[in-house]
Structure formats: C-alpha cells, structure tokens
Homo-oligomer: 665 residues x 2
C-alpha cells in the first residue's frame, strides 16, 4: 500500500472514531432494565414495529399494534444517543462504584511492569498515548478479586446480576403467544433454565461452567457471560501487524465490531505500538478484550522465540493486566513431548502462539515455561481478575490434521491446567480448533466436555473444508453453528480474508454477521429460551409485508434495505405486497394470505367444514365428487368457489392504505 | 431502475455473452478422459501446480514436482480455449450421436404445443428468437427414452458411463499418498463405492436412488448424476420477473452459474418472453435445465390461478419438453385436504407453485389437477426423458413452521407419486425445505428416505434462522451442508438477495460459492472417496507458501488473489514465506516448517530420539532434568539446542530463490 493510501485510510478511521455518538439502529432505541439486587441498569436494544393490517376494507382498514422486540446489544453506550462519547476520554466507568464497594482492591501509584514504565518514560510516544488513563487497581494483599472467587463464596456480584438480566432479554415481558412459540431444542445434555437468574449465574461461575471476563482495570466493560447454558457468544479478532494498519484503524475496528455484535474482541496486534494501541482499545471498549501476551513478549525479544524468558513474559502479563485486558490466551498446553507429534502433519503447527512455544521448547530442550510457571500465572490472574483462555497451540491447520494425537493430547493437558486454575478460583475457558470436517466436529466437543470438566469451550470456526480461500467465514461458519449447537460457548469469528490478508472494516462486518448467524442457529438448535422470538417477529413482519420491520429486526438492517432498494428503490416498494423476485402477480405470500383468510373463514363455519370433510373422504377413497354425499359437496364447492373469488379480489391491498409508521426515521 | 440503467445493464450482459470462449481458470487446462464402453470424452479441469522447495541451500535449492489436481468442472466447453463458441449458434451437440444410435426417438416436423406454434407464428418475436433451433425429438410410438428405462433393461448408456468417469475425477491416477489420505466419513447408511463404475451408475438409476436428467431435446448437456451415493450437487436459480432483467442478462447468469460450479440451473422466469428466454438458455447450457411449468401456465391465464386448466398445463409441459428442459418441478403433492393445515402457520404457504395450486384447489373445491393427472404427466415425461422434481409446495417459510403436519403430509404424498412415476420408468427427485432449525434438519432427511423410498432429495437450503435478510446464503448454507452430509443429493442455492430482490451476477456467484462449500463439506463428512484430495493439495500448497497454487486450487482463484493483493500487491508477496496477517517474523507456518525439519531430523537419529524419550519420562514423572539419566539428557539438550539454532537460521528462505513456475499466466 502506498503511504498516500495509508494516510487516507487512517484519516477515514480518525473521522469515524471522532464521531461515534448515536450509532443507533433504525427504529431502535436503547432501553435500560433496572436490577433488583443491585442498583444497576442493563442496556438492551428495543426495535419498534409498525402495526399489522388485520382487516377492514380499503376505506376503513383495521390495524393491530405489534409489540417492540428486545435484542441483545453489544454496542454499549455507542448506540445510546443521549450519551456523548469522546474516544480521547474513553467510555464512562460503569463498574467503578461496584469495584469501590467491594473494597478488596486498591489503587497503585504507577504501573508495575518494567515495560510499562519504560513506555511511560518515553517522550517520543506522547503523541500517540491515550491521555486519560485511569488509576490502576490490584487486589489488596491476600485478596482474590475474581468473579469465580466471589461466586464460590456465595456472593452475587452486580456483574452477575447484570448478565442474568442481559441474557433474559425481557423474555418474560413478551405478550404475543405467537412470538413466544418455540421448538423444543436438542442441547446434548446442557442445563439451560427457562429463566436466567442471578443465582444461576453465580452457580455456573462457581462450578467453572461459565466465565464472566471482567478485569478490575476495565471498569468500562458491560458484563457478559460465556458458558454452555447461556446464549452462544461471538469473538472478533482485530489487531495490526508489522505490514499494515494504524491505531486509529484498530479503534475503528473495535467500535465497528461492537456495533455488529462482537461479544468480546481480541486485540492480536503484533506491530510497533502494541502497548499504546491496547490502551486506546480498552478505554473505549464496552466488551471484554482478550489478548495473546506471547505476541508482545516476542516483540520484546525482537522476534527471536529462543530468547523468550519467563521474566519477560511475566512482565508482559502484568503490563497487560494493569491495562485492563479481560482474558489472556496462554499456550501452556504445548508440551515438549507433543511437539514431535506434529511433525508428520500436513500443516504442522498453525497457531502462532503454539509455534512460538514449540520453537522455544525445542531450542532449549526444556518444558514450556508457561506450563512450568502456571501457578505463578494464576497468582497474577486473580490479582486483577483476568480469565484464562487456554490456547490450543496444536490445533489442526487443515482437514487432514483434524482430531489427531497432538491436538487431543494438548486438550487433555488443558483439562489438567483448568483444574489447577480452579484451585486458585481463576476463571478458565478452553480454546479449540481450527480445521475439522463436519462429521468430526462433535468429537471435539465431547472430548472437551470430558477432559476439561465443562469449562467453556471457545473455538475458531472450525473450518469444514480447506478449499475456499476468500470464503473461510463460510467454511467456518458451518462448523461454528454445529459446534455451538453441540455446546461450544463462544465462537471466534473467521473473516473472508483468513489465510490471505489482514481484514478491513468490511471483512470484520462480514465475519461478524456470519458468526452471529452461526451463534443464533446454535441457540435455536439448543432450544435456548426465547431465542426464537426474533425469528418469529421477523417472519411475521415478512409475511405481512411490513418491509421495514423485516429489515430492522434483521442482523443488518442497512444491507437488507440496500438490497431491497436495488430493485425497488421507491418508498412505495416498502409497503408493496410483493417484491422484485416474483413481481406483483406471483407473490406466494400474497396468495397465501388469501388462502389463509379463506381457511380461517372455513373453520368458523361448521357446515362448510363438514363439506370439506366429505370432500376429503371422497378424494381419499378415490371416489369421484359425484358419489354420495354428492349434493352437499357439490353445492358447497360452488358456494365456496364464488365466495373465495369475491374474498380474493377484496384482499389485494393497495400500497396507499398501509400505515406510514414503518418508515425509517 | 431507470431505463438508462436497464439499457446499460443489458449492454454489459450482451458484451459478456458475445465473448464467452476461453473462460478458463488460472493455471488450469481442460482435459478429456476417454470412455472404455463408449466413444466418449469426459471433460474435467486440471490445475497445474508449481514445485515444492524441499531442501538444499540458498545457492542449490532442491525442488520436487507436485502433480496436477483434477477438479469437477461444470463449465462445459466455455472453459476449453480450443472451442469457439457463439451464443447465437448454441453449444456443440455432445449427445447427438448417442441419441441417434439408440434409434428409439424420431424427429418431428414442428413444435407440438399450441403455444409454441403461436409463438413461432408471431413475427413480432423474430428479433428476440433463437435462430438456430435444433430439430425436435420425441420417443417413437410405444418407446420410453428415459435413462431409468434403459437402466432397468440392463443397458449402460453413454450418459451413464460419462457420469461414472466424471464422478471419479481421475482419483485412481493420484500418485501422492499424502494427497489420497482421507478421514473415514459418516454417511448415515449411504452406500458409496470406492470407485464409481458405469454399472454402479446404472444400478443406482434403475432402483431410483439416482437421477440423470437429460432430455433428448437437450443434446448439448454434459451428463451429470444426482443421488445420495454420488458427489453432492448444487443448483442455481436464475430467471427474470415482470419487474426486472432481460434475456441477455439471464443468459449471462447461466454462463456465470456454470463457470462458478452450478451442476444444474433452474430457469424460474415469470416475465414476458419466458418461452424465448428459455430457448437461449437451453441451447447454451452445458448443465441440465429445470423449470417450474406452472409459472408459465399461470402467465398464459394472465396470472389468475383459478383459470388454470389441465389442458393449458399439459400444453406447457409439451412446449417446454420439446425445448429441452431436463427436469420439471411439479407441485402434485399439494392436496386439497392439506391446504387448511397451513392456515395456522406463521407464514402460510411460501412456495409460489404451492400457493398457486392451493388457490386453484380452494377456488374450484377440486383436487389438485397435477395429482389427478399424474399418470398423464408421466406419459409426457417418458416421451422426452424429462425428470420429475416433485415440488414441496407446502414447505415451511419460517423457523416456526418447520417440520409441521402440512409439510410432512405432502412429503408422504410425494413418496406415493414417486412410486407411480417409477412404474412408468420415469426419473424422480423430491424437493425439500426451506426454513428448518439445525436440530430439526435430520428429521427431514430421515422422513424423506423412509417415505420417498430413497429417491434423491433436493432441498432449498434449509435456512437455519430467519433473522438475517441479506445473508440468507449463509443462514441456508449451514443447513445445506448438514442435510448434504445426512444424504441430500442436491442443494438448491440461496443468494444474499433472498427475500429482498432479484439476484444479480455477484449474488449468483456468492450463492454458488456458499453452496459449493456446503456440498463439499457434506462430501467430506460423508467420506466420499477422493473428496479430500483438493483439500490436501491446497493445504500442502498453503503450508509450503505456494501462494498461487493455494489460490488456483480454491473455489475462487480470482477472489483469493485479489484479497491477497489488497495488502501485498507485489509479485514478491506471492513467493514470500509470510502474509500480511502476521508479518514476516510471526508466521506460524514458517516457524512450524523449522520445527518440522528439526523433528524429522530427530527421527532419523536414534540416539537423539532416546534422549527425547528420556526427557519425556523426566517431564512426565515430574522430575527435574537433573535426575537420572541427567548426563545424556543435558548433553543432548545442549547439542540439539545449538543444532536447531543453526538449522533455523538456514531455513529462512529468501523470496528470490523460489521458482518462477507458480506465476499465473
């Protein structure tokens, strides 16, 4: 890329992040649900709908209102038009009072890590530094500030109540029985309650089945939960590399990710200003931020894996924990003895962290220092409540290498490490593959459940084939939906650029949309209570030709509207009872509406039902319509026929009689 | 759309279809495999690969060749640079000699259907008519020209041998054992042989488990097969509507579809010049063409469903059969008694054909005339070898309506009709849904297998959620991959424009790529022999940084290259041992390559392995490296450490030492 292009791209990003207030969605508003145990306000998005036309004639149409639909919202304050946001200041500190009240953490004078101190002292960094850094917290001596620790003591924190309310999405308030209708799911043994209570959240965190990633140095985060018995979550990876991208662009990608549904964001930057980029990201993030600290540690030793030491890594953990990173990917399961297992693979080791640690192990002929120092890492984690995401450094990088000895050996080690972390009351999730053919996906979930003691599983895809570079959001979205259904708690997105380049804004959105679909398809299949409300509401809107409602209830109202506009740009097309696919005469939904009205009419008319029954019997027995009871059937048919024709012609609604309320503001 | 835009779009389409020769793929060539039973040449695409760098130093690199990879090719003569194609003349008649030799069909003087005669007589249509219409064939009196009829008589037709060779994709010729490695699949009781023989094809067609759609009036078609024991196929829907699109655009979409992998194409046109559009499509199509004749029949009665008659429909069947349509969707399972079952649905009837027939049934209070005249339809089908695609007029249009009484009642009727068609030796496939949550997809396949006697299943998606208008290629691609795995024989694509508008070229491609992925993911999961060769070859290329090979082996070489170019446009980036995602220092694959060379070295060195074993035991037992056998282990570690560092620095290949052979010509 030319420096001109680079500058232009950076300027675009800067413009975007300097104008972030009120990124609301069409016909939506931010609402807040008040807690009962704690004084908390849980943000959600409410989509307003237009009325349904239910009867009457051209001159006296009868309408019925449709209740607003609540949808899970990851965009935080950015979609609240009443909050003025300045990315140079960072987000409001939602959790500050909660942290203060717990009185088990303390502010420290300055950063503890050597590296952070050096960066602070470097005046050359002043122009890119985040100016308004908050004071740094750590646990008071002897205290453990992890949500798991509280949960195990029977304490329901504000964070726990927050996620309970958030997960329910006001399901109890849905009035329309039609909207509440849902197929029973098949959850493969998960234990999803009909309503998520704060106590249930506490129990799930206490037993390790769920993770609530919330570093005490990330007071801006809106609490969320990752676990098999909750809504399936989606992670978006962002981050620059030595080759491309700037701080402004990464912050832009963060905001963009949360707008389009990222439940957590991982900053995988490997380029120069990692430390400063991360400050900007965390201070502006309403969602938990994850990192892979070994990337930065490797930067510190100039990319020479052999030169990594525990001391450098430890300093990096503290540096990042004090910045507020909510979870760390730690590749502590890449044991020396597993490395030769990858030698005969088609694609060896494909995890960056895995490859780095394998190289270190072989170069030194020593055991992985992340494994040998694991308990010391736990000490750091509980000082700030950073959650583990135990990295799968030996995940398969191709269909050929799926579910092999190296992969499952590491998984069992991750299971052992999970139990060690839990001894410290440190929260854990476990990372999974990768590239796995569809029929071998389930085994991954089963092995993980068994060997990792139900700690939440967090997978990358998996990609179900290798043959589609440029479309790996789709190859992996298929695997992701399946493993989500089987019990995977969080799906790490894959963008169309996977294997080819660094994702841009469009790629981030495309990856997220694919993974929101995969997660939701999984929720429906598991039978997560209330998951079907949005499908039902959207389909009802579709069936009733409430076009704007259909768009606005969808994952991407902008694209739906844009696609519709391509063939029917006029506003009249948005109230037309047909679309450009079939044209006005052939619309099956319009015809169906007529059939439906007719059949409804039938039901209320006992004699006519009898006629239809008689007809059925005639047809079933293979007799002609002239057999007994010929008279009634024939008469009935003629009457019905006339009635239907009349009814049908009445029900061609003209566009003009539709209400104006479904216009986008 | 403005008339200016319309004209521009039409002109673009015209330019495209007037320059169709040599639409070949990068580094690919068309090859032909000779039949043994018949004198036939089966076209395939062979992707040439560059050499692998396997050793040596900077100055004396050692290379090993990679064999070319055969991929299934639906693009017909269009991707053969040696064939000059003129869309105004149509494609060469591949099957003409075969049809002549069978001597059971005859040419008729002119078109038989009333409608075709009227169109021919209408001089106003001369300017859009296809000029070089071939002579029309029909079965000689008393003859049945269906592939099923031949199969049941023990005859292996050239068509059958063609598909046998085509399905194998030269698997037997693959030399590299690494490429042939494949995971055993889980096919849920399918009977997929290791090699597809012509006799196997015959048996599968004879018993109805597979369909070979090939109208005797479509001699241009390259035979293909649809069945559970063959590669999963993909259909693309094209077709204009009253609102949009021209003949040129539809022909363009046809060619575009076959270029990007459509195994069959359905022309769902509903606009004015349906008849003429179809001529152009069939004469230029190397893939089977399907239609829904009721759409055109409805046009003939000005869109008034009640005015449809068996006579008009029959005339339409003959009209289209004589044009060469290979399969007809017939909604003969929409029985009068099933219609009221849809009244309480959230989205009623969403199949156009289903809604039309339901409306007709109710208006007349008579049984569906497609059902009552089914045997007469069979007579027409076997006169031209048109295959049935029994339409699912009552498929669910929303998650809420999935797998309901209406849907499964119709399915059972389709099973009865299948058996009637088979009594006439007429080929049948059965259409399926629609909108189905992931956990309810399998039931569809099971019900279909049971009630439709293993006739091939052909589903639209299914969409696994309703909440993503604009992304329904993805919501449905997930369901399609799963149902393909479970045994569905053909997947009807869904484009991003589904529910919103008529797909354009980009949408067609996006839909097809998604469905090629779904089909291939299904093939891998079923364990279809040889399915993994392409994955293995691509992953090997990826691992060896043969960028162009990786792109060219993918489903969409153009997009892969374009995405890579976005961050590394220089040609040196295409031989670089890293990509823009991780930058040069952090590439896990590069590091892995080093680990792998090292481990390979280890294995050839018995003493070193012993050292590693000892080390393993030390680590496993929790002892320190200083325990017994401390000396050998310590010494070994130091030696290995030094050796590795040396080896590692040697293996950073510079871009300049890569061969030039992997450049795109």
């Amino acid at each position: 890329m030319s420096s001109n292009n680079r500058r232009q791209r950076r300027e675009q990003a800067e413009a975007f992040i300097n104008n972030v207030t009120g990124q609301s969605y069409p016909n939506s508003q931010k609402i807040y649900v008040q807690g009962t145990l704690h004084d908390i306000q849980v943000g959600m998005r409410e989509v307003t709908q237009s009325d349904s036309l239910v009867g009457g004639g051209k001159d006296n149409p009868v309408f019925e209102p449709n209740e607003p639909i609540c949808v899970y919202d990851t965009s935080g304050p950015y979609s609240d038009d009443t909050i003025n946001i300045n990315v140079h200041q960072g987000l409001p500190q939602l959790r500050k009072a909660w942290l203060d009240q717990r009185d088990d953490s303390e502010f420290i004078g300055s950063v503890s890590s050597n590296f952070s101190q050096q960066r602070l002292a470097d005046e050359g960094l002043d122009h890119i530094r985040f100016e308004h850094l908050p004071k740094i917290r750590q646990a008071q001596s002897g205290q453990n500030v992890s949500q798991m620790h509280y949960a195990r003591q029977g304490i329901i924190t504000p964070e726990m109540e927050y996620v309970a309310i958030r997960e329910n999405m006001k399901l109890a308030d849905v009035k329309d029985e039609l909207l509440k209708h849902q197929h029973p799911g098949n959850s493969f043994g998960a234990s999803i309650p009909k309503e998520i209570t704060a106590e249930f959240v506490r129990q799930e965190i206490a037993c390790g089945r769920a993770v609530l990633p919330a570093n005490i140095n990330h007071p801006e985060v809106e609490p969320m939960i990752i676990g098999r018995n909750f809504l399936i979550k989606v992670n978006a990876n962002i981050g620059n590399s030595a080759v491309s991208s700037s701080i402004e662009e990464e912050v832009e990608k963060l905001l963009w990710s949360t707008k389009w549904g990222a439940d957590t964001v991982m900053d995988l930057s490997t380029g120069r200003y990692i430390h400063e980029t991360r400050e900007w990201i965390i201070r502006n993030s309403p969602v938990p931020i994850g990192t892979v600290p070994i990337y930065q540690a490797l930067e510190k030793v100039n990319g020479i894996a052999e030169d990594l030491t525990w001391e450098i890594f430890r300093d990096t953990l503290i540096e990042q924990a004090e910045q507020g990173v909510d979870y760390f990917t730690i590749h502590a399961g890449v044991l020396l003895r597993y490395v030769p297992m990858t030698a005969k693979r088609l694609t060896g080791i494909v995890s960056r962290g895995g490859a780095i640690m394998a190289k270190w192990c072989l170069a030194h002929h020593q055991e992985n220092f992340l494994y040998t120092h694991f308990e010391e890492i736990c000490q750091i984690m509980k000082t700030y409540d950073v959650s583990f995401s135990l990295g799968d450094g030996l995940r398969p990088g191709s269909i050929a290498d799926a579910n092999d000895e190296a992969q499952f050996s590491e998984l069992r080690t991750l299971g052992e490490l999970t139990q060690i972390a839990w001894q410290h009351d440190v929260q854990v999730m476990v990372e999974g593959p990768g590239h796995v053919p569809l029929h071998m996906v389930k085994e991954n979930m089963e092995e993980q459940l068994e060997h990792c003691h139900e700690a939440p599983f967090y997978t990358l895809g998996p990609l179900t084939t290798d043959i589609a570079p440029g479309y790996d959001h789709i190859t992996s979205g298929i695997g992701a939906a399946n493993i989500g259904w089987y019990g995977c708690a969080m799906l790490c997105y894959v963008t169309p650029k996977e294997h080819l380049g660094l994702p841009n804004k469009d790629d981030v959105k495309e990856g997220l949309m694919t993974y929101k679909i995969a997660a939701h398809a999984g929720d429906l299949a598991k039978g997560h209570p209330g998951a079907q409300v949005r499908d039902n509401a959207l389909s009802k809107a579709r069936f009733e030709f409430r076009w704007h409602d259909q768009f606005n209830l969808g994952l991407d109202p902008e694209r739906a509207l844009q696609y519709h506009d391509e063939t029917l740009p006029q506003e009249s097309g948005k109230v037309a009872h047909f679309c450009s696919m079939c044209g006005p005469k052939f619309c099956s939904m319009k015809i169906t509406q007529e059939v439906r009205d007719y059949a409804a009419n039938l039901e209320s008319d006992a004699i006519e039902i009898k006629v239809l029954d008689s007809l059925d019997k005639i047809i079933q027995s293979g007799e002609s319509a002239h057999s007994e009871p010929a008279y009634s059937a024939e008469q009935g048919m003629q009457a019905k026929s006339a009635e239907f024709k009349e009814l049908g012609s009445e029900l061609y609604h003209s566009a003009t009689q539709q209400p104006e309320t479904d216009k986008v503001d």
